[in-house]
Symmetry: C2
Subunit: 224 residues, 2 copies
């Protein structure tokens, strides 16, 4: 009888541990905002491109630097293309002209914006340069968004939703809203070279998949 009680105690203890682990994982997922939408089938190139833009919250914006002899100058920037899991495809930025990227882009609008699947965490053991670990470069024109437009109001909402810290950035630092007007799409998400996607295909309104999973719930299977 005593031995049965022991077993019961150990079972309750194990259950409590698993429950605690799941709960901590859930709280962590919320805190870090890792509500990751499932990766589309790589055969669906448009969905993959939109997913990469929707799931990342930073990337590298490249402009032409006249200060550096016309060199292409990549810079780490935060961005948003919509509310979480409701991306529209166009990346919006909140930049100050104290930084060279905004200054470069105002002088010469030619620019590109690059994101990788790697930081989303779905590439597993694959190398970041492996073609099946998707990578996307949107090339086009860097544009200032008119602060009095409806678009600016939308852009501010979606930027601040993904980057709450931005709300408190110094007013005197001349932060403005910019966007990339997309002209070309370069996507690698499988072997065999870049996928042909037109801008119209990329921007066409889509019903995004509703299914989501908590990355932490998967990750909790192995203690990271």
């Amino acid at each position: 009888m005593k031995s049965e009680m022991d077993k019961l105690r150990v079972s309750v203890f194990c259950f409590a541990l698993v429950f605690l682990g799941s709960w901590i994982g859930f709280v962590e997922a919320g805190r870090r905002g890792h509500l990751v939408q499932q990766k589309p089938d790589p055969k669906d190139a448009v969905a993959t491109a939109r997913w990469l833009v929707s799931q990342n919250n930073w990337g590298v914006l490249s402009t032409i630097s006249s200060e550096l002899g016309g060199a292409p100058f990549g810079n780490v920037v935060s961005f948003s293309d919509g509310l979480p899991n409701k991306g529209h495809g166009v990346p919006y930025f909140y930049l100050t002209t104290l930084d060279p990227t905004a200054r470069n882009g105002i002088r010469d609008a030619r620019s590109s914006f690059t994101v990788s699947e790697f930081p989303i965490g779905t590439c597993g053991k694959k190398d970041p340069e492996n073609p099946t670990c998707a990578k996307l470069t949107l090339t086009g024109k860097f544009k200032l968004v008119d602060i009095n437009s409806k678009e600016a109001s939308f852009a501010k909402d979606v930027l601040f939703a993904k980057h709450p810290e931005m709300k408190g950035w110094p007013k005197g630092h001349d932060f403005k809203i910019f966007k990339l007007e997309i002209e070309d799409i370069f996507l690698i998400d499988w072997f065999g070279g870049p996928k042909p996607i037109t801008v119209a295909q990329y921007l066409r309104p889509r019903i995004m998949r509703a299914s989501v999973f908590y990355r932490s719930q998967l990750a909790s299977l192995s203690v990271l």
Copy 2:
């Protein structure tokens, strides 16, 4: 007496669980290569720049795309500047001319390479664009490394050490070793604009800090 045995059993069980957790964390750290060297003091700009290059294993390489009207074209690439935690500062790449970046760089050597502190995992809750979440852009010339040189042999060793998958990449795809010959360094690691670093300061041999910590060991305090 029986109750003492129960306590002992539970203690042994708890100990076994903690041991198992630590062991899984250790194995994970090894598998993912997350042997993260401690972040230098942001006041030490040169050490911070070298640390960013040493701890990242991918970044964005920007070249001038003549196919896209001379636009700056950022592309996700893997790289290595040395054996793990023994970086030399110069990023080496293993690229195929089937990809536009190598073709662009051969035509026009002006290029830059950009890495962020964000994927290293040490920015905490800070936004990727927050100046205290460090970001680095090395601007210079894209160069093919002569395959018969000692440098090529070194570069191959350090690339394959950080990217074992590369060894098996198709021989027929014309992979070659390239490097960035650094001419300018742009580092933001604190408020107050970019830090002035010369290329000579950046490349000067340094005794890197020996202290390391397993990120997973810290992370294991909360089940990610």
